[in-house]
């Protein structure tokens, strides 16, 4: 198995063997058909637009939201309009603990084949797919202390 821990070897980048990727048609290479994308902050705004764009390009989309409950309706709409899988889940990620848990659960379920934890469903969307794209679009606007500049 290739060790992918380091991109460097002795201070130099590891050389690729053979030609670069030959994926055929340029348009096909833009397509996200059969890919899986996770978009955080996708309950509204830019994140939602990104989720819709990924879906239009054929990706199955996992919507993660922090507080915007309308994400559920948006996920349903995306699923119906673009004919892709689109699920959503509340996820708060200011702390690294939750992320670690997600990864740990996913690994655990792989080795034991027990019931699928929700977090895993979101990473892989149950279709045997890889996770391909992750878009981090969550935002806190600067909204306090404006009297004495923001």
């Amino acid at each position: 198995m290739t060790d992918l821990v380091q991109p460097l070897n002795g201070g130099n980048f590891i050389h690729q063997e053979g030609p670069g990727s030959s994926c055929g048609s340029l348009l096909d290479r833009f397509s996200l058909k059969g890919k899986t994308a996770v978009v955080t902050g996708a309950g509204g705004g830019i994140g939602l637009s990104v989720a819709q764009a990924f879906a239009e390009l054929g990706a199955n989309v996992a919507i993660w939201y922090n507080s915007n409950e309308s994400a559920h309706d948006r996920a349903r709409e995306i699923s119906e309009k673009y004919g892709v899988k689109c699920k959503c889940r509340i996820f708060r990620f200011k702390s690294s603990d939750r992320f670690q848990l997600t990864v740990k659960q996913a690994r655990h379920s792989k080795s034991t084949s027990k019931t699928t934890p929700q977090s895993k469903r979101l990473w892989t969307t149950r279709s045997g797919n890889s996770m391909d794209v992750s878009m981090s679009s969550s935002q806190t606007p600067v909204s306090h202390g404006r009297k004495d500049p923001w």
Binding site: I46, V133, M135, S137, V142
Partner: protein, 129 residues
Amino acid sequence: MVNGPVEHYNDVVATDLDSTYFCARAAAQHWKRQKQERTDLEGRQLQNFSSGSFIATASMSGVIVNVPQLQAAYNAAKAGVIHLCRSLAVEWAQFARANSVSPGYIITEISNFVPQETKDIWKDKIPLG
């Protein structure tokens, strides 16, 4: 900034920078494993995985300083996001790409709280108005 609440700084950095780091870290663990093992989490062979792609939403504020609103914390967090992605692109070269996008002002519900006269000042500075 001088008299602003420190909690707000912490909140902005936690959401805009820390969360991006944690998200990137969690995603990269999957991509690295997928590239190495060529399987999904249930051990089935992956058909169409080439490499991962991480895209962070940064901001023009990570490159320029906005006026008239002064927002050092936000600007610093976004500059951090941009350079985090540059660094990750090198670190992940074997199994994933990393990029950031820096939008300018976008009309979304996130800026609903901003008074119209401030938005007009922003538009004064946008070539396409």
